[in-house]
């Protein structure tokens, strides 16, 4: 199963919907993470804030392949996309283990296949480097076995995303 998280407008959402069933629209109509760890310690894999991201960690946790389409923001995700990722840490458990010789949380839903990130918008070389590194780290953190980062120069050419 494949899931797409994107911060594009409705026009592109229609195109994406034809290609993938599970679309998470990062429209910013939700609250940011409050860092309470409640999704581990109080109501596992759920958030106390009852908005569209309440159980988003379950959707992301169960997917085999995750595609993120985001505007570049200093070599990182746009705030609205990052908000979705911040709210999804319930996909792991409070327990810790070693992964890639460093400490990480164990995964509630096990390992996943691939994380692909497409970034668009103005982007410097340093930001591309940062983003590549960020995606590598995120893949380890969320338990993806492979990852790919691609810069999209123009969104109209991006219809090749599959």
């Amino acid at each position: 199963m494949k899931t797409i998280i994107h911060d594009l407008n409705e026009k592109y959402e229609m195109i994406l919907k034809e290609k993938c069933q599970k679309i998470i629209s990062a429209n910013g109509k939700y609250a940011p993470c409050q860092g309470c760890f409640g999704c581990w310690t109080k109501h596992p894999a759920g958030c106390y804030m009852k908005d569209t991201l309440e159980t988003v960690c379950r959707d992301i946790g169960k997917t085999d392949e995750l595609v993120i389409i985001t505007e570049n923001c200093y070599g990182a995700y746009s705030p609205s996309v990052k908000n979705v990722l911040d709210r999804s840490i319930g996909l792991s458990t409070p327990f810790s283990t070693y992964r890639g010789r460093q400490m990480h949380h164990t995964l509630r839903y096990g390992k996943k296949e691939k994380l692909t990130v497409y970034a668009y918008g103005d982007m410097t070389d340093a930001e591309k480097e940062t983003f590549q590194y960020m995606v590598e780290r995120n893949a380890i953190n969320f338990g993806f076995q492979t990852f790919e980062f691609r810069y999209l120069e123009s969104l109209d050419k991006s219809e090749g995303i599959n």
Partner: protein
């Protein structure tokens, strides 16, 4: 003609003269921005507090918890010389509400031609300080875009434990005071050496775990006072990672029992 060229030459950039002048006559202003969404007991505020203690001149503490704070904080940095951003590590990067703030800050700084020195203090839950590296790079990229001077920061591992240690310090202090009072009333000896020794030992252990943090914080305070770059440094709670993992697991079991999550499909696939 020659005179004209003489006056056009910039011997010292205006910003440096201003800084020198302010340093001598008016005190420097440093704004400490806490990027944690937590109202109380945030590790970021603890770390900012340590660095702040030794920074001279005018110091201001601010917190960005949501959009309502943006305007107030930005107005405060308008006439500042340096900002220190303290923030937690969320999914290898800057928390989303702080990314939104950084975008606002970029727009504001470019619009008002504000030149600031930017320092950062980030803390992650994992023990390796190095896991803060992507976040530091993001902040550096932010400074380049905003025409601000990136002065580096400290990436700290084991953030939650710093908080636990902070609470333990006050618990130990309380027990020590009680011991002294009881001993004083009962025996008339107001300085029971065994209680003093016990407390000194506990204090020593807490200090030891914090040594890396204190050392780099001190160096950052000095760098801020001098107005120079600091570089990016990584440190952690001084505990081997396998012991830290055990401590973290224990911590989450206890919290989950109290909050009830352990009885609600704690590790289940929901």
């Amino acid at each position: 003609m020659k005179n004209q060229r003489f006056f056009n030459r910039k011997f010292v950039p205006a910003a440096q003269i201003r800084r020198l002048w302010k340093g001598m006559v008016i005190s420097m202003k440093t704004v400490f921005i806490n990027g944690s969404p937590k109202k109380k007991l945030s590790v970021s505020s603890y770390l900012l507090g340590i660095v702040r203690m030794l920074v001279s001149g005018e110091v201001v503490s601010e917190q960005v918890r949501n959009q309502n704070d943006h305007k107030r904080v930005l107005e405060n940095i308008k006439d500042a010389d340096a900002v220190v951003i303290g923030l937690p590590l969320y999914v290898d990067g800057v928390p989303s509400h702080m990314l939104a703030f950084l975008k606002e800050m970029e727009r504001f700084c470019l619009e008002h031609d504000i030149r600031l020195k930017v320092y950062a203090l980030s803390n992650g839950g994992f023990i390796e300080g190095r896991q803060n590296k992507p976040l530091m790079q993001v902040l550096e990229n932010f400074c380049k875009r905003s025409n601000l001077e990136w002065c580096g920061g400290i990436g700290i591992g084991g953030g939650v434990m710093l908080n636990v240690l902070r609470i333990m310090f006050f618990v130990y202090l309380g027990i020590f005071v009680l011991n002294v009072v009881f001993a004083g009333i009962q025996t008339g000896n107001w300085l029971p050496m065994d209680a003093v020794q016990h407390f000194a030992k506990q204090l020593g252990i807490i200090l030891f775990f914090n040594l890396g943090v204190f050392f780099h914080s001190l160096r950052m305070s000095i760098a801020i006072n001098k107005g120079v770059g600091f570089g990016v440094k990584f440190t952690r709670v001084l505990l081997p990672s396998f012991l830290f993992i055990l401590a973290a697991d224990f911590f989450f079991v206890i919290i989950s029992i109290f909050q009830g999550g352990i009885f609600k499909g704690w590790l289940a696939k929901k």
